[in-house]
Amino acid sequence: MKKNITFILIILLAFVSACGVDDTSDIQPTDSYDRSALLVNWADNIIIPGYANFSQKLTALEVASEDFTQSPSAISLDGIRNSWLDANIAFQKISMFEIGRAQTLNYRNRLNVYPTNSQEIEGYISANSWNLELPSTIDAQGFSALDYLLYGLGTDQELLEKFTTGPNASSYKMYLLDLVTTMQNLTSEVFSDWNNGYRASYITNISSSASGSVDQTVNAFLFYYEKALRAGKVGIPAGVFSGSPLPQNVESYYNQTVSKLLLTQALNATVDFFNGKGFSSEYQSNGFSLNSYLEALGSEKNDASLETLINNQFQVAFSKIELLNDNFIQQITNDNTKMLEAYDELQRNVILMKVDMLQALSIDVNYVDADGD
C-alpha cells in the first residue's frame, strides 16, 4: 500500500506540472498551415506598406494644409481637397487593423468618426480654444472634421472668406492645421510602433489563445467589417438601426460625392486582406491569407468551399454597391431600397465570416474569458 501512495504522488506531480502548459505562447507551430508566414504576409505586405502609404499621403495633406493656410485661394483649396481625398482613400486600407498601438490609441475613432459635430467645431473656433486629446472632442476631429472645413462652409467663395477676411480666420487656419497634425501624430505613433518592435512580437505571437496575433487580427478585421464598414458606411445611414434613414450619417457628408468611392475602397481592402493580396504593386500575388488558411483546413460546405462562398458573396455585395449613386445622401433620400439591398449582401458575409469562418478556424469571438466544459 505504501507503493500506492507514492504512485499517486507521482501522478499528482505529473498533472500539476502539466498545469502550466496551456499558457505557453512562444512555441513554434508544427502543423501544416504556417501561421508565421501568414502573419509575415499580413505585416510585411499588407499592414506596414499600408501605413507607409497612408503616412505619405498624410504628409502630402500636411504640405497642402500649410499651403492653403498660408495663402488660401481656389488653387490651394483644390490642392488640400485632393490631398484630403487621397489620404482618406489610403486610410480605408489600414482602418481595419485596430490592434497593438492603434487599439490603445482608439485610432480609427480618432481619425474617422462621423457624423462630425459642426456646432462643436464652430464653438471651438470662435472660442479659439480646443484640445483634440480630450475624448469629448472625438467627433470634432479626423477626416470628417476636415470634410466639414473643406466642403461644409458654403460656396468656395464663402469658405475662402472665412479663412481670409472672416473674424475667426486665424482660428479656422489653426484648427485645420491642428486636425492634420493630430492625424499625422497618431499615425506616426502607430506606424513607428510597427517598425520598432511591434512587428517582431506580432509575427512571433502565433499562440492559439485569444492574445495570439491571428486571433487578434481576425477579431479586429471582423469587428471592422461588421461595425465600421457594414453598419457605419451603409447600415446606419440607411436607417437599419434606427427605423428611419439617417442620410446625415453618411461618410463625407459635406463632400457628398465620395461616400460610394470610400465604401468601394474599404471593401476592396477587405477582400484583399481576406485573400492576402499584398499592398504594393511589386507584390500582387495571393499570399498566405484567411482564404488559404480555410483552404488548408478544407472547410467544405455543401458543394462549395467556405472561402469560395465568402469571395462570391463579396462579389455580390460589390454588384449591389455598383448600382448605388456616388452621392449616398441622394441615394438614401430617393431610393433607400437599393441601399438596404447593399446592406443585406454585406450582412451575409458577416454570417459567413463570423459564424462559419470563426468556427472553421476555431477562433473565439473577442476575449470571451471564461471556462468551458
Binding site: 502539466a18 505562447s25 492559439s208 438601426f241 462559419d356 468556427q359
Partner: protein, 454 residues
C-alpha cells in the same frame, strides 16, 4: 425486498474514504473560488452585464449586484469549514446554497461541471462526512465513528458513474463517431501545444480521440468499480483529464474529477492519506487525537437515505427527457442541459434582432452589444431559450422607451459542428407572442441534416 434494503442500508464500512473526500472536496472548492475571484470573473460575469439570462422558473431570483462578492465569500469560507469538518452540516448546506445561487444568477455561465458541483454538494448534505477526522468529531458535535453506512460512500460513486456513463452515451452519435466532430475543429486549433501540436493536425488523431473519449467515458465506471483494474483505471483518469486540461479551457474540472475518483479506492489508501495529513498537522502542532469507540456507527439522519435515493432516481432519468421532444437535440437543445453532455458539439451563431411597429411597419435592427456582453451574445445566439428571453427583454425595453405596437423578430443563423450556417429561428414569428414553456419550440426552423445516434 425490505430485508435486502435493510441489509444494504445498514451495511458498514470504514469512514476514512468519506473523510478524505470531504477534506479534498472542500479544499478544491476553496481553490476554485479563489481562482475564479482572482481572474476577475466575478466582475466580468456577474456584475458587468446589465441583463442576465434566468433559468426557467427562477426569474424571481433577486440579482445581488455587488453582494455577489459576499456570496462568493460565503462559498469560500463554507468550503474551508467543510474541509476541516467544522459545523459541517451548516457549512455544506451554506456551500450548496451559495454556490447554486451563484449558478442560478445567469445561465450564460452554465457548465456541466458547475452543475456537478451543485449535485455533489447537495448529496454531501445528507452524508455523515464529519463523523471522522473532523473538528466536529474532535469536539463531540456529531456522532463520532470509524464506521459509516456503506451506502453513503456508494452514493458518491454512483453519481460519478452517472456522470461518466451519460457523458459516454451522449457521444454515441454520428457526428462524434463518424465525422469526428467537433474534435476535428477543436484539435487542429491547438497547434501551439508542445509535442502534441503536430499530432493534433492528423485526421486519425481526431478519430482516435473521439472514439477513445467515448470508450473512456463508457468503461471507466466499471474499471474503477472492479478492484483488479482500479489502479489502471486511475492512471487512465489522470491521463484523460490532464489531456483535456491541456487541450481545452476547462478550469478546475479535471482536477476535481481526478480527486473525486479516489473515492473508489478502499480504506487502506485513504488511511494512508489521513496519516499523511496527520503528519502535516503534527508538524504544525495542530494535531489532536481522540479515542473513538469502534463499536458505534454513524448512520446520519434517517431520512437521508430516502432523499439520496430519490435524488439518484432523478439523476438517472433527467438526461433522458430529451426523448420526449421531436427534432434534433443538438439543434433545438430541448433537454440538452443537466445531462452530462460535456464538450459535445461546436455551435456558433449570429442573431440580429428586429424591432417592428406592427401598425406602421417601420422597423430597426438592434445592436446586441448595447445590452449584452460578448460572452452573453455568444451563448444567446445559439440557444433558443436565450433568444426568446432576450427578445422579451428587448420588447419590454422598447415599450418602456415609448415605442408602440412592438414586435420583436430575429434573423438568426447557426453553424453546427462545421456544417454551413443555416437559418435558426423563424424570422416571421413575433417572439413577444411566444412564451417559454417546456413544450416543443415550433418556432425553431428545421435542421436540414440528420445526426444519428442516442
Amino acid at each position: 425486498m425490505h430485508t435486502n434494503y435493510h441489509t444494504y442500508i445498514t451495511k458498514q464500512t470504514s469512514a476514512t474514504p468519506l473523510a478524505v473526500f470531504r477534506i479534498l472536496f472542500g479544499f478544491m472548492m476553496l481553490v476554485s473560488i479563489i481562482r475564479f475571484w482572482s481572474l476577475g470573473w466575478i466582475d466580468t460575469l456577474y456584475i458587468e452585464p446589465s441583463f442576465s439570462f434566468s433559468y426557467y422558473g427562477f426569474y424571481w431570483l433577486p440579482n445581488p449586484g455587488q453582494f455577489v462578492y459576499l456570496l462568493f465569500f460565503i462559498c469560500g469560507v463554507s468550503a474551508i469549514f467543510v474541509a476541516i469538518g467544522y459545523r459541517y452540516r451548516v457549512a455544506i448546506l451554506l456551500f450548496f446554497l451559495s454556490f447554486t445561487y451563484i449558478e442560478l444568477l445567469d445561465k450564460t455561465t452554465y457548465l456541466n461541471h458547475y452543475y456537478f458541483i451543485s449535485c455533489l454538494s447537495f448529496l454531501l448534505i445528507f452524508l455523515p462526512a464529519n463523523c471522522y477526522y473532523s473538528l466536529d468529531a474532535l469536539r463531540g458535535r456529531c456522532e463520532v465513528s470509524k464506521n459509516i453506512s456503506a451506502w453513503t460512500i456508494n452514493s458518491i460513486k454512483l453519481l460519478l458513474c452517472i456522470v461518466y456513463l451519460y457523458a459516454g452515451l451522449a457521444k454515441l452519435n454520428s457526428d462524434w463517431l463518424v465525422s469526428a466532430m467537433p474534435l476535428k475543429i477543436w484539435l487542429p486549433s491547438k497547434y501551439d501545444i508542445p509535442l502534441l501540436g503536430d499530432l493534433l493536425q492528423q485526421n486519425w488523431i481526431h478519430y482516435a480521440f473521439s472514439w477513445g473519449g467515448a470508450l473512456y467515458d463508457l468503461s471507466i465506471p466499471f474499471l474503477l468499480l472492479w478492484k483488479p483494474s482500479r489502479s489502471f483505471a486511475f492512471v487512465l483518469v489522470v491521463v484523460f483529464h490532464v489531456l483535456t486540461r491541456i487541450l481545452f479551457p476547462i478550469g478546475m474540472f479535471p482536477y476535481i474529477m481526478i480527486i473525486s475518483t479516489l473515492i473508489f479506492f478502499d480504506a487502506t489508501l485513504h488511511g494512508r492519506i489521513l496519516k499523511f495529513f496527520s503528519l502535516i498537522l503534527k508538524k504544525l502542532q495542530l494535531y489532536r487525537s481522540i479515542n473513538i469507540n469502534t463499536t458505534t456507527n454513524a448512520n446520519g439522519f434517517k431520512i437521508a437515505s430516502y432523499v439520496v435515493g430519490v435524488f439518484m432516481i432523478v439523476q438517472l432519468l433527467l438526461p433522458w427527457r430529451y426523448i420526449m421532444y421531436p427534432k434534433e437535440l443538438f439543434w433545438t437543445e430541448q433537454g440538452y442541459r443537466f445531462s452530462w453532455r460535456v464538450m459535445l458539439m461546436e455551435k456558433a451563431g449570429y442573431a440580429q434582432f428586429i424591432v417592428k411597429n406592427t401598425k406602421t411597419g417601420s422597423q430597426f435592427a438592434v445592436d446586441n452589444s448595447d445590452f449584452l456582453t460578448t460572452f452573453q451574445e455568444k451563448q444567446m445566439s445559439t440557444q433558443p431559450d436565450f433568444i426568446l428571453e432576450y427578445a422579451h427583454y428587448l420588447g419590454n425595453y422598447y415599450r418602456s422607451k415609448g415605442h408602440q405596437n412592438v414586435a420583436v423578430h430575429v434573423e438568426s443563423f447557426v453553424a453546427l459542428n462545421g456544417r454551413l450556417s443555416q437559418p435558426f429561428i423563424n424570422p416571421e414569428i413575433n417572439l413577444l407572442e411566444v412564451e417559454d414553456t417546456f413544450t416543443h419550440k415550433n418556432w425553431i426552423l428545421e435542421f436540414n441534416d440528420t445526426i444519428e445516434g442516442i
